[in-house]
Symmetry: C2
Subunit: 308 residues, 2 copies
């Protein structure tokens, strides 16, 4: 396929729920459109931040369709579709491909641990065969600290070489810069770091941007920093990056999910924004207020009117 | 519900595949019936040993229906139904309940790691509400070394207390005897150890038997040992247990899946029995032959005619 790389910051957009825990599609679409209108070059629906593995297969397909029906350009979407089984991953991936999305971000099968490189290779090879579409563009999804199963650099290189038209990139959420650097050395592979901590270095080695949880709140600042880097204006980019990195440092791992949802609840006045599905826990109102005050006092960031 | 406990050895029956990786339903049913006719008091379809998380939702429902249509008594089945999301777990669980099974063996949501006890409690509480059936009997499934998410004893006690008609038991595959002992102290909870290593001790504290991978090959010997224990014939039970424990020691963790499948391929002359789905790897023929010879030479166990 003629694959087009999304350049800039991509938000793994949050999934809002109603009080009965069903997906709030209207708010999902509104948040997605807001992000795209305010700095985000693309979205990665159903990543770890979007509580993908807490959302059912039918719900995920339904929400993706709603997003596109609402006018969101599928060419700006890299959709998470990885489950533990081949048939269900193939089903979700084929659906995303049929919607015309830019790519599918696919976790390794993550139930069995310490599996072989050969076993992981066979999973992706078979998946590509099962989806059976020239339109399929896979972004591998490496987030071993959550999934429990990583994708060794050697395996990524092997998949890229074997399926050059299909395995186009990777999201590296390991937070391990040496790993990201090794991936950036793989010929023709698009590498999105899973956070903004080493963005200047990563873009210097060819990364087109990043896919980062904090883009749900801080997309505009991230976007501005990325444009400064892309334009080679490093003297301005460096302080801009320091600011987004300081923001990021306020959110630890998956706790960024309930924290950002609580901040969005405070900002929007819609308390349901704070709802997460089990097994995650909601962040309490008081903790959210304290975090909002800290962001304002220390970084001049207002959740009520995000700084540009 | 009037829940009946299955007493004896329960096999987490293996899932056979065709060469194209589709489930071989005919062989699935034949193996299940063979196990029930040869020592196994029950089956636990779609446990870790049954490669449950590598099989799709629709496939799992289809196979369960085929099993029951073939005449297997659903009262002898404790079916694995745990996935990472509430909607899909509820869907699979409700289907199993509608088939009249003895119980549903349910993993905690296992994508996010280091989640809170409260978050896990909320998941099961919500699941029970979503399934909405008095016929639901849940066996919690604790296998942290594979799933990456365990069920603390305190949480199990809390779920048992809050849902005494629904949370009836647990399969403890941790291999941690202290944990199993602590679970056996929970009032009214049925505890199946996930292997045969401490069966005399566990049954002495009230366990009705065990759910163990090796029952796929060694069900009859396990069954005999359990009956000796249940009858209080410990002098005979002890050497019988030493023998099944020595058998077990030949199979390490999830490697027991490809190993037992290869042995069944050799025994049946049907090479497809050896097939596993990615990310697991098949055991090579030579390694299977060497294992079969070792079992024969050291334990007098013939895969070609399992010892009683």
């Amino acid at each position: 396929m003629a694959h087009t790389t999304i350049r800039g910051v991509i938000a793994p957009n949050l999934t809002p729920f109603h009080a009965d825990l069903s997906v709030d599609k209207a708010r999902y679409v509104a948040h997605a459109r807001h992000l795209l209108a305010n700095g985000c070059a693309g979205l990665a629906p159903f990543g770890t931040t979007g509580e993908a593995l807490s959302v059912g297969i039918a719900e995920r397909m339904d929400v993706l369709e709603a997003l596109i029906e609402a006018g969101v350009d599928p060419a700006r979407l890299i959709v998470g579709t990885g489950l533990t089984s081949l048939p269900d991953t193939a089903r979700l991936t084929r659906h995303a491909v049929d919607q015309g999305v830019a790519g599918a971000m696919i976790l390794p099968p993550f139930y069995y641990k310490n599996v072989s490189e050969e076993g992981l290779y066979a999973h992706y090879a078979r998946l590509i065969e099962m989806v059976g579409s020239e339109k399929l563009a896979i972004y591998l999804y490496h987030i071993p600290q959550v999934s429990g199963v990583g994708l060794p650099v050697r395996l990524v290189a092997r998949l890229r070489e074997a399926f050059p038209d299909t395995v186009v990139g990777i999201k590296d959420s390991s937070g391990d810069w040496e790993n990201t650097r090794a991936l950036l050395a793989i010929e023709g592979l698009t590498v999105y770091p899973g956070n903004e901590m080493a963005l200047i270095e990563a873009m210097g080695l060819g990364a087109p941007g990043c896919i980062t949880a904090t883009a749900n709140l801080n997309g505009e600042a991230l976007s501005n920093a990325i444009h400064l880097i892309a334009d080679g204006r490093l003297e301005e980019a460096e302080p801009a990056m320091e600011k987004v990195k300081a923001f990021r440092a306020k959110f630890k791992g998956t706790a960024a999910i309930p924290a950002q949802k609580r901040l969005l609840a405070l900002a929007s006045g819609e308390p349901d924004w704070a709802i997460v599905r089990p097994p995650l826990d909601m962040l309490a109102v008081e903790a959210g207020r304290a975090l909002a005050e800290e962001l304002e006092a220390e970084l001049g960031f207002s959740v009520f009117q995000p700084a540009a």
